[in-house]
């Protein structure tokens, strides 16, 4: 620690920090542009000028840029000194020379850091008389808009996109007063994290294009703290609403998970909430498939009848909240409840929970991932299954550079200096995946094989580290290098997941972590499942597997099936699902979107999407996180658990009568030992701020409320009183940032209208939220080392080719996830169904890249891609896309050329 004096006041700061971080950590106001808390300093904008004094006797001092000045104990600086203040005003004046002043038509207006800094520095009179420069903008694809005239050349975009996220197709072009940030020509920004440009750019150059198409000012957006439904990482988000539409998703800072950045699946994957294919009414579907809206009461009558005196099976879902799953289980009873996970996936998650339960390896947060000093990825293409993890792995790879920097006495925030000094040297990162991935650029070495062979390789690494562990084989050199690198590391990390559908990779990853632990290291083990609540669903004690549930229905043992937020055709082979749904049982579906299962239901109930209800998801770390209702859904839409509550009542039951979400959370915690800690994830509805107020979902400048419904009725409806949460559906209340971190509905602070205001909500820059980072960990983060080398001793058999082709799953960030794939911006980037073949196999089938192949076992055709990294006799098949369901058959399948398959070029030609 160091003591510093700012304008005569004494503050504590961290030695080694830069002065800008130090003063912002004290919640003082000091303008800046180019510095970013996650990306360090480059000293380009010169906005953060302060006066630094040599000692107490120095009255003149000298100008210094806070972001590139290290904190020294006893240092004296001034923010207010006239010389510094005037210099900062001049910086804005310079930046404004060419800025178009188009705030009224700029999407950034009202949450623009440039506006804020302009006001803060007091520049208001234009003195520059010259002609402003103008640029041609580029078409950067469906996600990102481009308006270069607004650029103030802070270099943040390229520093994020290129340096932080590893993107290659955006750069700083030109020089002098003619700097251009863009591509060589039009084209979609390829990087999976491009959406962060919207938040990283301090003005309106890079904008959220889907948001622009249905635009609303920040001050008119209603938001609530939420959790991304896109994958199992559980990034925190601010979804925002106006006029009943979900408008956009912004990053919600979480010190241990997503930090400042989201992936594009999360950011652009929520537009399904507004989709025309939403189910909005309760109704019946007769066998002739015609849907008839029946109204809530009639539907409940029907449902009550279906439930009374009948054998009911309930299938929950890994994309529904813990609470709704628990409610369904309460309705049907443990023995009739299935958590809705595909059987293979359920086994894998159970295995993961078992491994974590044995302890010995930390379950890393993403900030832990960033500090790992060696990484091995075993079988999981995280960039496509848990994308935000890949961004953190990229930062871990930079660890070596930071270390070299510190050896050379270059401060950690001196970003360009460290990059220049380290010359691209990276910490060891080893990637063993079915196919090459788009983070292979950070890999020390890659290894491509079938999941079983990757598992065997993993076993071999563990054995190499500690001879007590079971042997594996394959890829000798790779094994040697991995074992050597992990063995030397202090904080090694093994990343795996359920994506390859191979239990062996999880077992092998666990063996490696334990072998490292046995050698005295502090290993971390990250196991990524697929969906937002995969872990939460798996933690419920359920009596039935999916197969068991389907079989019970098919066999007639059960005569009513309640399916909640789950398209069964994505979870089990179509034939089995068909057989169950056609067996004559009454089928009740609660869901937010039409899908094949809903099509087959007798009774359909409109379920709330994540942004329309309250609930808890449990992420890959076993962290229970509360997401809150952002807005009240229209029509008959209600949370699944409310439908269940109503159903129980209609059936004349006295149980399942929870008084609200808090009551349900408590019931769940009481009823499910594994979930006992979920109430700790967020405060109860009666929480009030220091001033005894609620927390407003609408910002203090929310406008036009009284006019919003004026076309319907000039009398303004009274805002709903929210009994379920501490939030108000109005501007009333206080969002000071001192409340628990889980209840921050947006960031906004006096003078700081943009997302940069987040530092006012943090304990210190880049640290935890002032009220603590959200979430309650349900599984031990550092349990006793109950594990030993006896756990996993049976590596899977090596892959052997045979007749036909074995299909292995691969995932697409845009397309494989069910809900985001139905968000139009994401859908527009989703690949066609494809399989990847070895060149020899393709030759034998007589197909070339771009041709189609037919797979009768899947009743589908897919586009052929060719990659020599695929093992002969094996093929990678993208899963989760329409027409290519998961899980894939476990036996080899026959493929044949599909002469009718349309080639992409033909599709384009036909428009």
């Amino acid at each position: 620690m160091a003591t510093i004096f700012v304008d005569g006041e004494r503050y504590e700061a961290k030695a080694g920090q830069n002065v800008l971080e130090a003063v912002l950590s004290q919640h003082l106001d000091l303008p800046y542009f180019c510095w970013h808390p996650a990306m360090g300093s480059v000293g380009a904008c010169r906005q953060c000028a302060i006066v630094e004094y040599a000692d107490e006797n120095d009255e003149r001092g000298r100008l210094a840029m806070a972001c590139i000045t290290s904190v020294r104990d006893g240092m004296r600086i001034s923010i207010e000194a006239p010389y510094a203040a005037e210099f900062r005003t001049s910086v804005i004046e310079w930046l404004m020379e060419n800025h178009p002043h188009d705030c009224p038509v700029c999407e950034e207006g009202g949450e623009c850091h440039l506006q804020d800094m302009t006001v803060m520095t007091g520049h208001s009179q234009r003195r520059y008389r010259g002609t402003k420069r103008t640029w041609r903008n580029q078409d950067l694809g469906p996600f990102i808009g481009h308006e270069m005239n607004r650029c103030i050349t802070c270099y943040r975009c390229v520093r994020f996109y290129r340096d932080y996220a590893g993107g290659t197709d955006l750069d700083a072009m030109g020089s002098r007063g003619r700097m251009y940030f863009g591509r060589v020509g039009d084209g979609k920004l390829e990087n999976e994290f491009s959406g962060n440009l919207v938040e990283v750019c301090p003005t309106g150059v890079f904008t959220d294009r889907p948001f622009s198409s249905q635009y609303t000012r920040k001050w008119d957006l209603q938001s609530a703290p939420s959790v991304c439904p896109g994958c199992a990482v559980g990034c925190n988000i601010f979804p925002s609403e106006r006029y009943g539409d979900l408008k956009r998703v912004h990053n919600r800072y979480h010190g241990e998970i997503n930090g400042y950045f989201l992936c594009d699946r999360g950011r652009f994957g929520s537009h399904f909430v507004n989709d025309p294919a939403r189910i909005r009414n309760a109704g019946t579907r007769a066998r002739d498939d015609v849907f008839e809206a029946r109204g809530v009461d009639a539907a409940m009558d029907a449902l009550g009848k279906m439930l009374r005196d009948r054998k009911v099976i309930g299938i929950g879902s890994p994309r529904a909240s813990v609470e709704s799953n628990f409610a369904l289980k309460s309705l049907v009873g443990r023995d009739s409840f299935c958590n809705g996970l595909a059987d293979g996936e359920a086994d894998l998650i159970a295995l993961a929970l078992d491994v974590h339960g044995r302890g010995g390896a930390r379950i890393p947060t993403l900030s832990d991932v960033e500090t790992a000093d060696a990484v091995l990825v075993l079988g999981e293409d995280v960039l496509n299954t848990a994308p935000r993890v890949a961004l953190s792995m990229r930062q871990a790879a930079r660890g070596r550079a930071l270390e070299m920097g510190s050896e050379a006495a270059i401060p950690g925030w001196q970003d360009a200096g460290i990059r220049g000094h380290a010359q691209g040297r990276l910490s060891p990162v080893f990637l063993a995946t079915t196919l090459p991935t788009r983070i292979d650029d950070i890999a020390t070495a890659t290894f491509h094989a079938t999941p079983a062979d990757i598992a065997r390789t993993g076993y071999a690494v563990a054995h190499r580290l500690d001879g007590d562990f079971a042997e594996g084989d394959a890829a000798d050199e790779f094994v040697e290098r991995v074992a050597a690198a992990l063995g030397e590391a202090k904080r090694p990390l093994v990343v795996t997941g359920t994506g390859s559908a191979e239990p062996g990779v999880i077992e092998a990853a666990a063996n490696i972590a334990w072998a490292l632990r046995a050698r005295g290291a502090d290993p971390a083990l990250l196991i990524a499942p697929h969906e937002a609540n995969s872990v939460g669903a798996a933690m419920l004690d359920a009596g039935l597997s999916l197969d068991g549930a389907l079989e019970a229905v098919r066999s007639g043992e059960a005569d009513t099936l309640v399916v909640m937020e789950n398209d069964l055709y994505r979870r089990a082979e179509s034939a089995r699902v068909d057989a169950a749904l056609a067996a004559g049982a009454e089928v009740v579906v609660m869901d937010s979107m039409e899908n094949a299962t809903a099509q087959a239901a007798n009774l359909v109930l409109p379920a709330a999407a994540y942004a329309e209800c309250n609930g808890t998801f449990v992420n890959y770390e076993g962290r229970a996180q509360r997401f809150y209702q952002v807005f009240e859904p229209g029509g008959e839409i209600a949370p699944s658990w409310v439908w269940i509550q109503r159903a129980a009542q209609a059936a004349g039951r006295s149980d399942c009568a929870w008084s609200g979400i808090d009551d349900l959370v408590r019931a769940c915690a009481d009823g499910e030992p594994a979930l006992a800690a979920i109430p700790e994830a967020a405060p109860a509805a009666d929480y009030r701020s220091e001033a005894d107020t609620r927390i407003p979902r609408q910002p203090h400048r929310y406008s036009g409320r009284t006019a919003m419904r004026a076309d319907v009725n000039v009398h303004e409806p009274k805002p709903t009183v929210d009994d379920e949460t501490p939030f108000s559906y109005s501007m009333e209340g206080q969002n000071t940032g001192r409340q628990p971190g889980s209840t921050v509905p947006y960031v906004w602070s006096p003078g700081w209208n943009s997302n940069q205001s987040v530092f006012k909500f943090q304990q210190e820059v880049g640290g935890s939220l002032s009220g603590g980072d959200p979430g309650a960990r349900l599984i031990g983060t550092d349990g006793p080392n109950g594990a030993d080398s006896a756990c996993f001793r049976n590596p899977p058999a090596a892959f052997a080719g045979g007749d036909g082709v074995r299909l292995f799953p691969v995932h697409a960030i845009f397309g494989s996830d069910e809900l985001s794939a139905r968000s139009w911006p994401v859908a527009s980037c989703s690949p066609p169904p494809y399989v990847v073949l070895h060149p020899e196999d393709a030759r034998e089938l007589g197909v070339e890249a771009g041709d189609g192949v037919r797979c009768d076992a899947l009743s589908a055709s897919a586009e052929v891609r060719i990659d020599a990294a695929v093992t002969r006799g094996a093929a990678a098949c993208v899963v989760g896309l329409p027409g290519l369901p998961e899980p894939l058959p476990s036996e080899a399948v026959a493929l044949s050329r599909d002469p009718d398959f349309p080639r992409e070029a033909e599709i384009i030609a036909k428009g």
Partner: protein
């Protein structure tokens, strides 16, 4: 008078000094002495002792800079680099071109000694792209030197190896700034780097690197041959050695002369440049390139041209090549020309330089063309002060830009005000002669 930098050129009748002529004039003896009889530390001490200061503009003591380079294990693994800054793009500066074109071996010998002293096994001459004649001269000379084993492996039959390469710049003034130069050498955009780390700790490709100006390195061979005392004694004042001084503008004999460090401005202009051309009077001069403050004949003609004296007068010796402003030149328009250069050559990295300099150029254009106001002069002054204070901008490019402007406002303020008052440039009618 000793002229260690140019004596061979003189003896050769102004022709290129080839390797034979160079050796006949004592060439490569200094390097041979260093490499065969001295340790690197001894070479560094000798150069420190000689008080050689960098001729690239900043005047940093060369031996001290060399001494910052880690030696032995402390240097870590990988090559160290010596880079000769031959980018010479400072307007009004033409000394390095002359040395490289006419006596390329002098530079090569200096490079060999410097590389030996810091333990560099690779060296680059970072040569301005438009310098075609120097390129051809150096290209040939490097081949000749390698032929005699003065470059390459086992120089002078000893252990020391040096791989010297010519890198031709793709052109930007900022490439002359030493850290921008290193980025250019690495094939990147030539943006300056934040310091620390300084190049001797982490320079080209993250390795210890020394960047020296051409003339600086050309001074080294003679120091090795004749010793530190001899070199120090060459200077007339505190600064050591000789200096290539130059004059451009309306004088009778524009050109370059090697003279003792500390020769007065008057002697340079009146004796060597043979005074102003008939009909022209000297109004002011930029003593060492475009990025130095104006001096004026009324006050400064008798100043010795050395680092300390010129600094004391509020300017910098810079490159030692002066640009004379005669009485036909409008100081406002000349300032506009200078700001145009600096605005154009800004790398675009930091705000004050990228956005501030073009504004100054516009204001000067407005004043020159009769559209200026007194407030504009204030803005020039205030903004100039903000942009020009070292440390306010990312590198010293902008500070250099402001030196001629702030001094023009100081010495020629009447001219600026006259433009505003009269709504036109009072020099306009007089233009066109000359």
């Amino acid at each position: 008078m000793d002229k260690p930098l140019t004596e061979r050129i003189g003896q050769n009748g102004g022709q290129v000094v080839d390797i034979d002529a160079y050796e006949a004039g004592g060439g490569y003896a200094g390097a041979r002495r260093a490499l065969t009889t001295m340790t690197p530390e001894e070479v560094i001490d000798l150069v420190k002792d000689a008080n050689l200061r960098g001729r690239g503009g900043a005047g940093f003591p060369t031996g001290v800079k060399w001494g910052f380079v880690p030696q032995g294990d402390a240097a870590g693994t990988g090559p160290k680099y010596l880079v000769c800054n031959a980018d010479e793009m400072e307007p009004g500066t033409f000394k390095d071109r002359y040395l490289m074109t006419f006596d390329p071996h002098l530079l090569i010998e200096g490079v060999v000694v410097a590389a030996y002293a810091i333990g560099a096994e690779r060296a680059y001459v970072f040569l301005r792209g438009e310098y075609f004649e120097p390129f051809r001269a150096l290209e040939g000379a490097i081949a000749d030197a390698a032929g005699r084993k003065y470059l390459g492996d086992g120089i002078f039959g000893g252990e020391f190896n040096l791989d010297l390469r010519l890198h031709r710049s793709a052109g930007r003034y900022i490439c002359g700034e030493e850290t921008a130069l290193l980025n250019a050498l690495e094939g990147k955009r030539a943006q300056p780097r934040l310091k620390p780390p300084f190049p001797p700790a982490s320079g080209a490709w993250g390795r210890p690197t020394v960047v020296n100006n051409v003339e600086t390195l050309c001074c080294v061979p003679a120091i090795l041959r004749n010793g530190a005392d001899w070199f120090r004694d060459l200077g007339l004042t505190d600064d050591a050695g000789t200096k290539i001084y130059g004059v451009s503008g309306r004088v009778n004999n524009p050109g370059l002369w090697e003279l003792p460090m500390g020769t007065t401005i008057r002697e340079i202009i009146e004796t060597h440049a043979a005074g102003m051309r008939n009909g022209y009077k000297l109004r002011g001069l930029l003593p060492g390139g475009a990025s130095t403050d104006f001096l004026v004949p009324e006050e400064h003609l008798d100043l010795p041209m050395d680092y300390g004296s010129i600094a004391a007068a509020g300017s910098r010796m810079g490159t030692g090549t002066m640009i004379l402003m005669d009485d036909s030149i409008c100081p406002v328009d000349m300032s506009r020309n200078l700001q145009h250069f600096f605005a154009q050559e800004s790398c675009g990295f930091c705000t004050p330089c990228r956005e501030g300099l073009p504004w100054l150029e516009e204001l000067l254009t407005d004043i020159e063309e009769g559209r200026g106001t007194l407030e504009d002069i204030d803005i020039l002054e205030k903004n100039g002060a903000f942009i020009g204070a070292p440390g306010n901008t990312f590198c010293l490019h902008a500070a250099g830009a402001i030196e001629p402007l702030q001094s023009a406002l100081k010495y020629f303020r009447d001219d600026f005000e006259a433009h505003v008052r009269e709504g036109r440039c009072p020099y306009r009618e007089r233009k066109g002669d000359g």
